[in-house]
């Protein structure tokens, strides 16, 4: 249990936090949200004493953390930062095992931990343990960042906008994984974000901050039903709309997927994927019409043998049209192995992409919308 008791903090003359009091029960997923600069990071960093309050106290399990050794304290609190911060001089396994090593776990024990955790996020140990962070995509790196925070089984994990820099598709996957891990491992998680969609999806309780004060603290459903102020309402924005039934595909596809023209080089495409952390690019012809997709697997397998990406393109992905009925798509995504379908405009140019995750979110929004109306 984490308790803030009348915590305040100033930098010079400007007060950043004002008399902040709240409690996070064990096993709860608390999301801190609010406008930029409202004090979310400052609040979070007080929990592992990267910052000290000027007034008030922070207690963990009833004990004032000011009385604990900060270095020791941090070894028992997981910490994930937005800029990932995997140590580039260490392998994936060494990164994951930083805290176990600090706590003097045996080598075998550490290796076991790394193996189990990697398994948990579907990164096979034998394939990934000895890689360096620079060899991973952004999404994979942040997965490892999360595992590093979990390695020594801390009861409390802090995450400061951990997925802010990732592309939407990877972000949603990681959100699902984190939520799953939290349920599985019964962690108390304090999670900072400025994305209300993310907060609604993850939180047991949302703590909405503004100007260093609590604007509203409530479970997602309650916040959706009774936003405490116009500011909260504006943050909830589109998530409160209650019209039901987004029926056409274009209503819930993701626009602006990563796409390339077919005359781009293999290397260029590989770099683009690495940069944006995706494993597939959509490919268009000279008239911007959809040709197929370019999976990274094909680049890995055959990329060295060809000059152009054309022979690497596959058409095996399901496509639908923007104005099509969405129910078929849902049906298809639920029953097939595919993770996404490509949405095309009537002139065969690319309109967007629908993933399992984006679908689930719309369904959830619709349900909430109905519950509210």
């Amino acid at each position: 249990m984490i308790q803030f008791e009348h915590v305040s903090k100033s930098y010079g003359r400007s007060a950043i936090l004002h008399d902040l009091s709240f409690t996070v029960p064990d096993g709860q997923f608390l999301v801190l949200i609010g406008p930029s600069g409202c004090g979310k990071t400052t609040t979070m960093k007080m929990i592992n004493r990267l910052l000290e309050p000027d007034g008030g106290r922070v207690l963990i399990d009833g004990k004032d953390i000011a009385d604990m050794n900060p270095v020791e304290l941090r070894r028992h609190i997981g910490y994930v930062i937005q800029q990932i911060g995997l140590f580039p001089n260490m392998t994936v396994e060494q990164n994951i095992c930083v805290v176990p090593k600090l706590l003097k776990y045996s080598k075998e024990q550490s290796a076991e931990i790394a193996r189990n955790l990697l398994e948990l996020v579907n990164l096979p140990y034998d394939q990934y343990a000895k890689k360096y962070p620079s060899e991973l995509s952004g999404g994979q790196q942040q997965r490892i960042g999360v595992l590093r925070a979990l390695a020594a089984s801390p009861p409390v994990v802090l995450m400061d906008e951990p997925f802010g820099a990732l592309d939407p598709m990877t972000r949603e996957t990681l959100q699902d994984e984190v939520k799953k891990l939290q349920k599985q491992l019964h962690k108390t998680i304090v999670f900072v974000t400025h994305d209300m969609g993310e907060a609604l999806r993850l939180a047991d309780t949302i703590l909405f901050m503004n100007g260093g004060k609590i604007e509203q603290m409530a479970p997602p459903e309650e916040m959706l039903e009774r936003p405490a102020s116009d500011l909260v309402r504006s943050f909830l924005g589109k998530h409160t709309v209650s019209e039901s039934a987004p029926i056409r595909a274009e209503d819930f596809m993701r626009k602006n997927p990563y796409k390339v023209s077919k005359d781009r080089g293999v290397l260029e495409c590989a770099e683009m994927m690495a940069r944006s952390g995706v494993d597939t690019l959509l490919v268009t012809d000279e008239n911007d019409r959809y040709l197929g997709v370019l999976p990274i697997r094909n680049i890995r397998l055959y990329g060295r043998t060809v000059d152009s990406i054309v022979p690497l393109i596959t058409k095996e992905v399901h496509t639908i049209h923007a104005e099509d009925d969405a129910r078929e798509t849902m049906e298809y995504l639920v029953t097939s192995q595919d993770n996404y379908v490509v949405v095309l405009n009537s002139d065969e140019t690319i309109a967007g992409i629908i993933t399992k995750n984006s679908m689930a979110r719309v369904v959830a929004d619709t349900l909430w919308g109905e519950a509210q109306g």
């Binding site: 592992n48 990267l50 270095v71 020791e72 304290l73 941090r74 070894r75 028992h76 910490y79 930062i81 800029q83 990932i84 911060g85 995997l86 140590f87 580039p88 001089n89 392998t91 930083v98 805290v99 600090l102 890689k131 360096y132 962070p133 620079s134 060899e135 590093r148 802090l158």
Partner: protein, 211 residues
Amino acid sequence: MSAFFDAYGALLGRSILIHLGYVLASVSIGLVCGVILGILLSRLPPKWSAFLLPVLSIFQTIPGIVFLGLLFLALGMIPATVLIALCVYATFPILKNTYTGLSQVENRYLEAARGCGMSPMQILVRVELPLALPSIIGGLRMSTVYTVSWTVLASMIGLGGLGDFIYQGISSNNNLLIVAGAIPAALMAVVLGAILDWLQKKATPGREAVS
């Protein structure tokens, strides 16, 4: 040619070894001093280092001969004088690169390290120094290559080394002697540099080499 080697071969071999000995000794000492001073300098508030680093750079540009002359006056014409001068000059590039390497470690790594529960010493040893290593080895390389040529100074007071050949060659107008001293010295610089380049690659797996 073979007559030359008959006459000078043994001496040349000995000179190369002596030369190498001076280089290794002074660079090793320079490495220890440079890294320690670089770490200390990086722990000072930025205001201090902003002042100290330029001062050190000016010191470094004092010509070796002048510095050596001053040391002679202070200490006398003894081997220690030359060694001290060589060590001091070997220290500079390493000191500077250690400092730059450490100050370029991105804040996110420091924050992650603190957040993981590393003590300041653990952060230094496990994160900062490994990340600064390419830069430190870059400094070591510079220092080694320079020291190979500065060591020629050692011969000025008859301490041996390849400079002997060069000075003798100049004073007796014997080009062969000059070449016999210069080529091994040049090769030594190239070979040591290559070894350090290789070391730099080995020391930084998973990262781009920085020099």
